[in-house]
Symmetry: C2
Subunit: 250 residues, 2 copies
């Protein structure tokens, strides 16, 4: 058994030459990070570009809705093919290659903002155990937090990420809106926002929760709702989120 | 006119000796920060303690609901009296002193977590312009961001702070809940949360917004709502916040 494992590791293929399809935020960042990690980026292809054949790994870094059209034009035989989406099942790739998987980085990427990828969780899935081993090996070269997760588990994580990132950012944006009405600069809230994020990390968000809803301070909540008259959508959100927080404290 | 201003500045009182009533998160942090800035903290009083009379400034750092009871027992004549609340009008102090104001730091304080107060906005209000000058002078010794704001404006800022801090933390907490169900460690989301906060600061949250609701990606939203069956409160929040984000993109 020891010998056969050893033999397997000797013949296990490794990934060197990579094609990334999609030159948006995710594609561009992955290209830079993988280049630094010693991989060869043969192509970072804009949408619609002709894709070079015969490389070790094809990474689809396109919006979910654009993926299938791009796949149908790719010159693949059995090359390893992965996507980078939190919400697309791996199975949609099975029509295009026999070696498929997922390479999903749990982070928000912005052009021009460097990311320390070593700390970013990288969720891996593959259609076979040998492919999983190959992808995990490649993933470990760029991240210290490689996690094997099937499509359902990845989708749950994606929903969690929507709350933790997209929705928290929307809370900041409502705050910005309310401040601009008072001709106050949003940047005044920066120390509060940065400290809130750091505190949630240090204590856990359940222990870090503060505010009138947490204290169930109905007098303050009533004042806030009064002030939000004329902002019905924001008022409704205020009420629901406060109820949700108070509910958890019971 | 120049001379009278100059003369006024010569006779303007300044604050040196301070009593802080309330030894919770806000009181304790203010005491440390003001001590470092060169003020004398004569007393940091627990709730119910006997308050020393005759000092330059009395800072109420108690929960809103506990404030009036503590005030009614304070040995004040006309000493300067302020509170630190975002949501309490200055006027409630007028029964207890003729020199009143507000000293509201826009930050979330936690025992044991040091805060760089220089960057924290400090909102000042006072019942007369001479008192305002005295409080602003004191405030500038601890913060680079001193803002004079009346009670209505401060309440608006407090609501903005609730969204930016209490509600974004609740979004993190929902994410934690969803992750724990998958037996995944909340800390996996830390790089995403920290980057989201930093990005909102750098770009503004309107430009930093990403995710399925922003793209109005109904397919992904539908998948997420399907996965949230059995979590009706979370599902309802997901739907409303997504609608709100999509609405803004129109």
């Amino acid at each position: 058994m020891f010998i056969s494992k050893f033999a397997a590791s000797l013949i296990m293929e490794t990934i060197q030459d990579i094609v990334i399809v999609g030159a948006g935020n995710v594609g561009t960042h992955l290209a830079e990070i993988m280049l630094e990690a010693g991989f060869t980026i043969c192509q970072l292809a804009e949408r619609g570009a002709t894709i070079v054949p015969g490389k070790d790994l094809y990474i689809m870094a396109l919006p979910d809705a654009a993926m299938e059209e791009a796949l149908s034009e790719m010159p693949l035989k059995d090359e390893m093919l992965v996507h980078t989406s939190g919400s697309v099942p791996m199975e949609i790739l099975s029509r295009y290659s026999e070696n498929t998987g997922v390479f999903y980085p749990l982070q928000t990427f912005t052009k021009g903002r460097p990311i320390d990828m070593k700390e970013v969780p990288l969720l891996i899935e593959a259609n076979r155990i040998d492919n999983e081993n190959i992808l995990v090996e490649a993933a470990k070269k760029i991240s210290n937090k490689v996690i094997v997760a099937d499509s359902d588990r990845r989708l749950s994580l994606h929903i969690a990420a929507v709350f933790a990132s997209n929705f928290s950012n929307h809370m900041y944006d409502i705050a910005r809106h309310l401040m601009e009405e008072q001709e106050l600069d949003f940047d005044l809230l920066s120390p509060l926002i940065i400290e809130t994020a750091a505190k949630a990390r240090a204590l856990g968000p359940d222990k870090a929760q503060t505010g009138p809803a947490k204290r169930n301070d109905r007098e303050v909540i009533r004042k806030h709702l009064d002030m939000l008259k004329g902002h019905e959508a924001i008022k409704e959100l205020y009420k629901r989120i406060s109820d949700n927080i108070s509910e958890q404290e019971k």
